[in-house]
């Protein structure tokens, strides 16, 4: 296979993957499957902060020992630039 056609194949893969994602996102919206808790009016929960942020950059750990949760969340605040309020919600969710 020539480099150019390989590049085209890969580009197509990328576009298809993106399109699949957009499509399924749209579908979810159509079916109003978004839980009420995720609608903007209701106050944010720690679980939402976790779901919205912790798999952006890496696979999040399944469990963090409560003794180090504060340290980890401080560290991730510097990376993900989370707000102070998000930090409090996360700590409450991860180490209630």
């Amino acid at each position: 296979m020539k480099p150019r056609s390989l590049v085209q194949v890969l580009f197509l893969f990328f576009i298809t993957a993106t399109a699949t994602a957009i499509f399924s996102y749209g579908q979810q919206q159509d079916q109003s499957k978004v839980p009420a808790s995720q609608k903007p009016q209701t106050p944010k929960t720690g679980e939402q902060v976790f779901n919205n942020n912790c798999s952006r950059c890496h696979t999040p750990p399944m469990a963090i020992s409560p003794r180090i949760t504060g340290t980890i969340v401080m560290h991730m605040r510097t990376r993900a630039r989370l707000s102070r309020q998000d930090e409090k919600l996360l700590l409450q969710y991860l180490a209630p």
Partner: protein, 359 residues
Amino acid sequence: MPRGFHKQIRWPAATIAIVVSLACSLRAQTPQVPPVPENHAGHVPVISGGFAYIHNVNGGVTTLLPQINPILLVPFGSHVLLESRTDFTGFFQRENQTSGPFKGKVFKTVDFAQIDWLANSHAILSVGKYLLPFGLYNERLVPVWIRNLQDSPITAAIGTRTSGAGDGIMLRGLVLQRSAYSIQYSSYFSARSGVNQLEAARTAGGDSSIYLTRLRLEAGVSYQRFLQQRNINSVATYISWQPRTVPLDLKAEGDFNYNGRGYWTEAAYRLQQLPIPALARNIQLVTRMQQFFPLHGGGNSLPTVDTHRIDFGLNYYIRDDIRFVSSYGRSFSERGNANVWNVGVTYRFLFPLFPARKK
């Protein structure tokens, strides 16, 4: 002090001043939020990091790459954090490249060693040696346990000269946060240093991105001015998207500077939603495509001829912290095409520095 230093420092200093005052004024505007119940989170120092053993074959030459990158995190209260990462990577190749016994050595590098003051949501001040926040790669994807493909993108050399780190100060935080989106920034100034393990170039720059919370899409731009010998501007624009309903991870970045321009796009898909045996759902398929076009002869760790590269990866997650990784890549250039293979294992460790107290 070299002539022109004041001139060079003036605009980064002004940028930082503007950002600080913006951060302070925004702080005053932060809406009132409901109180959060108490928690039991502890602030015990942490040792974490990545361990990997990678077997790499590039154009027929085998390299064994054992590596460990411990991170030390020591908090002082809930506002000050000391963080440091040291990288130990062994490079072992056959004596005559393709024959003979394996020989090599282990390289040690202090990647960063900094103190962070988490003043408020809008201002986190870091002082020391910090990772340059340029594009998606340097700060986020370098750890072996995070990257989906073990080889760095070609353009990772843009905006990260000379050591990938800066010595000086960095200010970062949220510009604003709404329920649908948040905007964040980083800005930094680094002094030139040739001190062993503290090598850095005189640079100034910043990064800003918008994160659309419901879409889980982030788009950003990074800028850096290299303030040594020839002043060089580097720019990156990037997108990172992890859709809510599909276990996909899409990332793309375009980079530009005096020595060249290029881009990479990467898609990673975990098979966890497919109707296949449970064991196979731990598989992640990855593909990356990249192109690089040198300008002014390229160089500074960038190719000197047009280069295209594609990579396919297959990773297997045994747990969230251990995985087998494998990839095949082919690079195309007028200097010749080459196949690159990687197989190995990566592990993320994480434990408190003090053992658990006896009850």
